[in-house]
């Protein structure tokens, strides 16, 4: 005797087939599920957009997306925000390799070079941009130049974000550093900067300058690289396969940092949480930081101003910086219609980049940068003059914003700032790491 208990095989098969058919029917061919499972094209009216903005930048980006959605109701905008830095670029790379890239994505200009060389981006046709009124002459020159790889355009710049100088107006007035109009008197040269800082230290009785020295190696790198590049040095050449670090120039920059710490002008052990506490309370008159942190001080009503990082060395002005750009991730199934929709999205965001500029970034789109509204935006526009002098990280597969390069260089500098390493030892440490990476066969 043979009893059927529970499910019979035929029922099971029938059920499985039915379930499969039902899944197909429910998902249609346009849902993200279908895209993921069988690589179907996303629906015709969708625009997927990846970015890495959180905090104040994140809120302003959402406002910009809303403007786009309101003016383009026929498009279904699907925006995804991911953690910035290496996690973001890893996910973007894997999405492209996996065949499910977003239509358009944000990338730092310095990371874009590596992505493009790795074949993960599609070039952008300047003629298609020109049709939308986006032409080279209307963008910041330095940013626009940096958007090219091997002569082809791979990105459209949204902004330039330099390393700048914040000054506490009350402290600096007490130290006699302000001009009649309440802005900082120009500072030129190492001695001039040291003199100003000594005056501030007398005024505060504590420190002259604060900057994150712990747990934020990229910030330490920004200080060092600004000084080093002002001296006319270069760190990497030949796409990162050779190291051209100049010992004398690097030591001059490191010694200057060491002097600031040694004289008690720079607070030695401060992390990202401590920086705003010290600067807002006026325990330091200067703050070396990226312009993107201005929201913090505007919100907590610190009396402060901003200006370009002073020219400490050399006679050609430069400071460290990068740009946020829009890129088209490589997609063999990309249609002209989807590219056009992506570029129209870029045009809309650029046209409203005054909203973006409120967060401190210098708009790369000249019609906004030259507008009266932006010029009236203080302190956000008071360092706009540095936009075309910004120095980007030299290209290498391991360099760029938030990269391994910035981390290992920054760690050595951080040790000097915290007094744990002499400038000479830090230089040796930099060289050891640089040589390791330069010798490593490039994966791109």
């Amino acid at each position: 005797m043979y009893h059927h208990s529970g499910i019979r095989r035929r029922d099971l098969l029938r059920g499985t087939l039915g379930l499969g058919a039902a899944t197909l029917a429910v998902s249609g061919c346009g849902s993200p599920l279908a895209t993921g499972l069988y690589g179907a094209n996303p629906p015709g009216d969708a625009l997927t957009y990846w970015n890495l903005f959180t905090g104040g930048d994140g809120e302003r980006m959402i406002a910009l997306q809303k403007i786009y959605q309101d003016t383009h109701p026929e498009v279904r905008l699907d925006a995804v925000t991911l953690t910035w830095g290496n996690p973001y670029y890893t996910k973007l790379s894997l999405a492209v390799r996996g065949g499910v890239p977003p239509d358009i994505a944000v990338s730092h200009a310095t990371r874009m070079t590596t992505l493009a060389q790795a074949g993960l981006l599609d070039p952008i046709d300047p003629a298609a941009l020109a049709e939308l009124g986006l032409t080279a002459d209307k963008f910041s020159e330095a940013a626009w130049q940096r958007c090219h790889v091997g002569g082809a355009l791979y990105a459209v710049p949204l902004d330039t974000h330099p390393y700048v100088l914040y000054y506490h107006t009350e402290v600096c007035r007490k130290a006699g550093l302000l001009a009649a109009d309440g802005t900082l008197k120009p500072i030129a040269g190492a001695d001039d900067l040291l003199r100003a800082m000594r005056a501030i230290k007398r005024a505060t009785g504590k420190y002259a300058v604060v900057t994150a020295t712990i747990s934020d190696p990229a910030m330490c790198w920004r200080l060092f690289s600004t000084l080093y590049w002002q001296l006319g040095g270069t760190v990497l050449a030949d796409n990162g396969t050779s190291v051209v670090l100049d010992d004398d120039k690097a030591l001059t920059a490191l010694n200057f940092i060491h002097t600031m710490v040694d004289e008690g002008l720079m607070a030695p052990h401060v992390d990202d949480t401590g920086v705003p506490v010290l600067f807002s309370a006026g325990e330091a008159g200067f703050l070396f930081d990226g312009e993107w942190d201005c929201t913090v001080y505007l919100t907590n009503k610190t009396p402060f101003g901003m200006t370009g990082f002073p020219q400490v060395f050399g006679d050609r002005y430069t400071c460290q910086g990068d740009s946020h750009t829009f890129v088209l991730p490589h997609d063999p199934a990309r249609t002209p219609a989807r590219t056009a929709r992506s570029l129209e999205f870029v045009r809309t965001l650029l046209a409203h980049s005054d909203i973006w500029a409120a967060g401190g970034h210098i708009p790369a789109w000249d019609p906004i940068r030259d507008s009266a509204a932006y010029r009236a935006m203080k302190p956000q526009s008071s360092y706009a003059y540095v936009a075309d002098s910004v120095h980007y990280d030299e290209p290498a597969w391991y360099s760029g914003s938030g990269s391994s390069f910035e981390i290992f260089m920054g760690q050595a500098i951080s040790e000097v700032q915290q007094g744990g390493m002499t400038p000479r030892a830090a230089l040796a440490e930099m060289r050891r790491n640089l040589d390791t990476f330069a010798k490593t066969p490039s994966p791109i």
Binding site: S93, I214, W397
Partner: protein, 308 residues
């Protein structure tokens, strides 16, 4: 099978047929598993071993240029690889002892509770079922500098709270605390089950002989739970060697890579730096280390078993 061949002579032939039939159906029954095992474990392992001899990149098609044993030489010389190995060991050392001792203590306490045992079992086991992403969200708040309860509560009782997630020295301890809270429930349940297996009469006999409190624990409970403890430690060490999610989500291996475990080093090399060939070499070195540790453990277990 052995029984049927020796019990009754007339059935010997049939028994052989049975055995052959049984063996064949055994192979067929395990075939689905074997196919998946070959497809998703042995296949990739062999492919990885080949890739580890090349400059394979995930963004370039094919294997790339040959590199011989260069990848292995680079792994063995890499300070970052060995420091990530050390972080994995560090994590194991920080988490295993408390996960064993505290789980046992809580299990014994729960056993003694007269009423509402279910409540304690639930409370101690519940965190174990939370997914890693949610646990990390909770502990990001708990460990938040200045405002997190881990800081404010310590400050309230006059203790200077450390910089839980920000300082390289404390970050791994914070991860260990999170893991302790999260995974304690599993060991706890194992101990609870083992405790219930100890016959009542042994306690009674011991009580008659005058054993009280601590003596009962030392001479009865701990020795009788020996096998469970061995199991718990083995599972714990294996789980620690595989640590990735909570560290990746909470700190991304930071600050200054002070918590980056071996698995994240392999992930970073392979996916962030695109260096699949190198990452394969690193993971094979890691595999060898794990196999060595496991076989040492097996041998130690055998020797201890023979002595016992």
């Amino acid at each position: 099978m052995a029984l049927s061949t020796t019990a009754a002579p007339p059935t010997i032939i049939r028994g052989d047929a049975d055995a052959r039939h049984g063996r064949r159906s055994g192979v067929f029954l395990s075939l689905p598993f074997l196919v998946f095992y070959a497809l998703f474990l042995l296949g990739p392992l062999a492919y990885g071993a080949v890739m580890s001899l090349f400059n394979t990149s995930i963004v370039r098609p094919g294997l790339g240029s040959a590199r011989g044993l260069g990848n292995y030489a680079e792994v063995l010389r890499s300070g970052d690889f060995w420091s990530s190995m050390w972080h994995t060991v560090q994590f194991t050392l920080y988490t295993t002892p408390p996960l064993v001792v505290i789980a046992l203590l809580l299990a014994m306490l729960t056993e003694r509770v007269r009423r509402g045992k279910w409540f304690y079992r639930f409370v101690f086991f519940a965190p174990y079922v939370i997914p890693s992403a949610s646990v990390v969200l909770i502990f990001t708040l708990v460990f938040a500098a200045q405002v997190g309860p881990a800081t404010t509560w310590l400050t309230a009782i006059g203790i200077d709270a450390p910089n839980w997630l920000g300082s390289p020295g404390w970050a791994m301890i914070s991860v260990a605390l999170l893991t302790l809270w999260w995974t304690l429930g599993f060991n706890y349940v194992l101990y609870l089950a083992a405790l219930q297996d100890i016959p009542r009469d042994i306690y009674d006999a011991a009580a008659v002989d005058g054993a009280r409190g601590l003596a009962t624990i030392r001479h009865i409970i701990v020795p009788l739970l020996g096998r469970t403890t061995l199991l718990v430690i083995a599972l714990q060490v294996v789980a620690s060697l595989k640590v990735f999610d909570q560290i990746y989500l909470l700190l991304y291996g930071g600050p200054n890579f002070a918590t980056r475990p071996a698995l994240e080093y392999i992930f970073d090399s392979g996916f962030t730096d695109y260096r699949a060939g190198y990452a394969d070499a690193a993971s094979l070195v890691y595999l060898v280390v794990i196999l060595a540790v496991s076989s040492l453990w097996l041998v130690a277990g055998r020797i201890a078993g023979r002595k016992g």
